[in-house]
C-alpha cells in the first residue's frame, strides 16, 4: 500500500492546524474524503441530478441509475445475495432504529429477551432499551471479562430459547475488540433469535461478508468509510425484510393509495419513504470503489499494524492506561494519561495539530465498566502513518510536561 499516494488523494490532510501539519487521528468518529468521492458528488449535481424513480426524462433515469447503481455496489461490497436487501438510511443509527422499530417491536412480547453487550455504542443500546420498555421484553447483557471482551461460553449462557434478538457491534469503537459475530450468530440461530450487527466500525476497515457471517441485519455508516455524511445502509435478509412493515409513510414508498387504505412497494422501497439521499448514495458508491481499489485486506492489515505500533509506543509512556486487549485489535487505541483529564489531553494535542477524540465515545455504560468517566482515543485509517503515531507520542510527552508543571 502506497500511503504517500493515498494521502495525496485526501485534500483535507494537507493543511496546518494551529501552525502544525494536521495529524488526523479521529477517523473512528468520521473519516476524511478522497478527491474521487468529492468529485463524484459534484459531478452528480453538475450533470445528472433529478428526482429518482418517477421522471420519464433523461435526467430522471440518470439519477435513478446512479442511485440504484450505488445500491448494487453496497450489496456486492457486503456480499449480500440481492440489491433489494440493501436499504439506504442516514447511517448506522437510523438503520438500527429501523430494525428495532419495524422488526423487534413486533417480534417481542413480555418474557422474551433481547441480548446485547455492555460495549455497545449508544446507537446499538438505547433502541433495544426502548423496545424492551415498549414490549415488556427483558434486556440482557453478555458479561464482559476484565479486558472488555466476552467468552462464547458466556454468550451460550446468556442467549436462550426466549431470546428473540441478539444485537452486537462487530468492532468496538472504544476497545478495538473484533467480536466473533459468526459464532454468536450461530448461537442466536440455534435459539431461534435474529442476529443484528452494528457494522459502523468494521465496514470501513475489513472485508465484510454478511452471508458468511450469516447475520440477519447489518448496519453501517458511509461517513466512516470515506463516504459522505447522511448516508448509510441496513442490510437485511430478504425473507425478514419482506415481512416487516414500514415505519415511515409517504411518497415513494407506496404502491396503491386509496382514501382509507394503501399498499406498499416491495423492499427496499417501502423503507425509503420520501426523496432519498441520492447524491450521498452516489458518493458512497464512489467511496466503495475507492476502498476496493486500495483493497480491504490491505486496509485491514495497515490499520491493525498502526494500532499495534501505537499500543506499544503508548505502553512505553509512564502513567498511561490503555483500555481493551493488546492482541487482535482493530485500528484504534483508547487511553488515559495519568490523571490528566482527556479533554485537557485533547486540547494540548490539538494545539500541536493532532486531532484525537476525548469523552465517553457514546459508550457511557462501557465507561462505567472501565471505571472511568471518559478517555482519549486515537483512531487510524488508511491515510495514517507510523509518523502520525510518533507525533502523537511527542504530543503526549508535551502534555505530560505541561500538566506536570501545572498541576505537579
Amino acid at each position: 500500500m502506497n500511503i504517500a499516494a493515498i494521502r495525496e488523494q485526501f485534500p483535507i490532510l494537507h493543511q496546518e492546524i494551529n501552525g502544525h501539519p494536521l495529524v488526523y487521528l479521529d477517523s473512528a468518529a468520521s473519516s476524511q474524503k478522497p478527491r474521487s468521492v468529492i468529485d463524484a458528488i459534484n459531478r452528480y449535481y453538475e450533470k445528472d441530478h433529478s428526482n429518482v424513480h418517477r421522471g420519464v426524462h433523461t435526467l430522471g433515469s440518470r439519477a435513478t441509475d446512479a442511485y440504484e447503481g450505488a445500491r448494487e455496489k453496497v450489496a456486492s461490497f457486503l456480499n449480500a445475495a440481492l440489491p433489494e436487501e440493501i436499504i439506504f438510511t442516514r447511517g448506522t443509527t437510523t438503520a438500527l432504529n429501523l430494525v428495532a422499530s419495524s422488526y423487534a417491536r413486533n417480534a417481542c412480547k413480555p418474557g422474551d429477551e433481547i441480548v446485547i453487550t455492555q460495549m455497545e455504542h449508544h446507537s446499538n443500546l438505547i433502541p433495544w432499551q426502548q423496545v424492551a420498555k415498549a414490549t415488556g421484553a427483558t434486556l440482557k447483557y453478555i458479561p464482559l471479562q476484565p479486558d472488555g471482551s466476552f467468552t462464547l461460553a458466556d454468550a451460550e449462557l446468556t442467549i436462550t430459547a426466549n431470546t428473540k434478538v441478539v444485537a452486537m457491534t462487530y468492532v468496538s469503537n472504544v476497545l478495538g475488540i473484533v467480536n466473533p459475530i459468526k459464532e454468536v450468530a450461530a448461537i442466536a440461530h440455534r435459539n431461534g433469535a435474529v442476529m443484528v450487527v452494528d457494522g459502523a466500525q468494521s465496514t470501513p476497515h475489513m472485508r465484510v461478508d454478511v452471508r458468511d457471517l450469516d447475520c440477519d441485519f447489518y448496519a453501517f455508516s458511509g461517513h466512516k468509510m470515506c463516504g459522505p455524511t447522511g448516508i448509510g445502509a441496513l442490510y437485511g435478509k430478504k425473507a425478514l425484510l419482506s415481512k416487516m412493515e414500514p415505519i415511515e409513510f409517504g411518497g415513494e414508498m407506496i404502491d396503491y393509495v386509496d382514501l382509507y387504505e394503501s399498499t406498499w412497494k416491495d423492499i427496499p422501497y417501502r423503507f425509503e419513504g420520501g426523496t432519498p439521499i441520492i447524491a450521498n448514495a452516489v458518493g458512497l458508491g464512489a467511496a466503495i470503489d475507492f476502498l476496493q481499489e486500495v483493497g480491504m485486506d490491505e486496509i485491514d492489515k495497515h490499520q491493525r499494524q498502526l494500532a499495534a505500533y501505537a499500543y506499544d509506543r503508548l505502553s512505553e509512556l509512564e502513567g498511561v492506561s490503555i483500555y481493551g486487549p493488546k492482541a487482535d485489535r482493530a485500528g484504534l487505541v483508547t487511553f488515559n494519561l495519568g490523571d490528566v483529564h482527556p479533554h485537557d489531553v485533547a486540547t494540548v494535542l490539538d494545539s500541536e495539530g493532532i486531532a484525537v477524540r476525548a469523552g465517553h465515545h457514546c459508550c457511557q455504560p462501557l465507561m462505567r465498566f472501565l471505571n472511568v468517566s471518559s478517555t482519549a482515543r486515537a483512531s487510524f485509517y488508511l491515510y495514517n502513518t507510523e509518523q502520525d503515531v510518533d507525533q502523537l507520542i511527542a504530543g503526549l510527552l508535551k502534555t505530560k510536561e505541561f500538566f506536570g508543571h501545572a498541576i505537579g
Partner: protein, 141 residues
C-alpha cells in the same frame, strides 16, 4: 492557538486546590448536571436563606476547565443575593463570548477568558454556572 491562554496559572491552582469541594448539609439545594457530550458531571449544593446564597459546595468529575470554573463560581457566589448571582452568571456568559468583563474584587474568573478561543471547551467552563442558574431558578418557583 496558545495553550497558556487557556491554562493560566490561576486556573491550574483552582484545579489542583479546588475551593469549596465537598458536600453541604442535607437540606441544601442540590443540582446535578451532566455534560452529555463527554460524560462529565457536577453536583452543586447551595445553602440559601432569605434570597441569599450563604454557602456553596460542589463535587463531581471533570476536566481542569470545568473543575476550576466550579471552584471559582462557588467562591464568588457566596454571600450574594439571587439577583446578584444571576447577574454574575450573565457576566460569565459574556466572558465566554469573548466580551471584556470585569469581576471586580474577584478577579480569578477573568483567567477563564481564554476559554473563548477554545470553543470546544466552553461547555466545560459553563457547566457549574448552568447548575447555579438552575438552582436559583428553582428557588424562584
Amino acid at each position: 492557538m496558545q495553550l497558556d491562554d487557556l491554562y493560566r496559572r490561576v486556573i491550574m491552582d483552582h484545579y489542583k486546590n479546588p475551593r469549596n469541594h465537598g458536600t453541604l448539609e442535607a437540606d441544601a439545594v442540590t443540582i446535578k448536571l451532566n455534560n452529555p457530550t463527554c460524560g462529565d458531571s457536577i453536583a452543586l449544593q447551595l445553602q440559601v436563606e432569605n434570597g441569599l446564597v450563604t454557602d456553596a459546595k460542589f463535587s463531581g468529575e471533570g476536566c481542569s476547565i470545568s473543575l476550576s470554573s466550579a471552584s471559582m463560581m462557588t467562591e464568588v457566589v457566596k454571600g450574594k443575593t439571587f439577583d446578584q448571582a444571576l447577574e454574575l452568571a450573565d457576566k460569565f456568559s459574556a466572558l465566554m463570548k469573548g466580551e471584556p468583563v470585569e469581576f471586580e474584587d474577584y478577579e480569578d474568573i477573568e483567567a477563564l477568558s481564554g476559554v473563548n478561543k477554545f470553543p470546544a471547551r466552553i461547555k466545560c467552563a459553563t457547566l457549574s454556572w448552568n447548575a447555579l442558574r438552575k438552582g436559583i431558578e428553582q428557588q424562584h418557583e
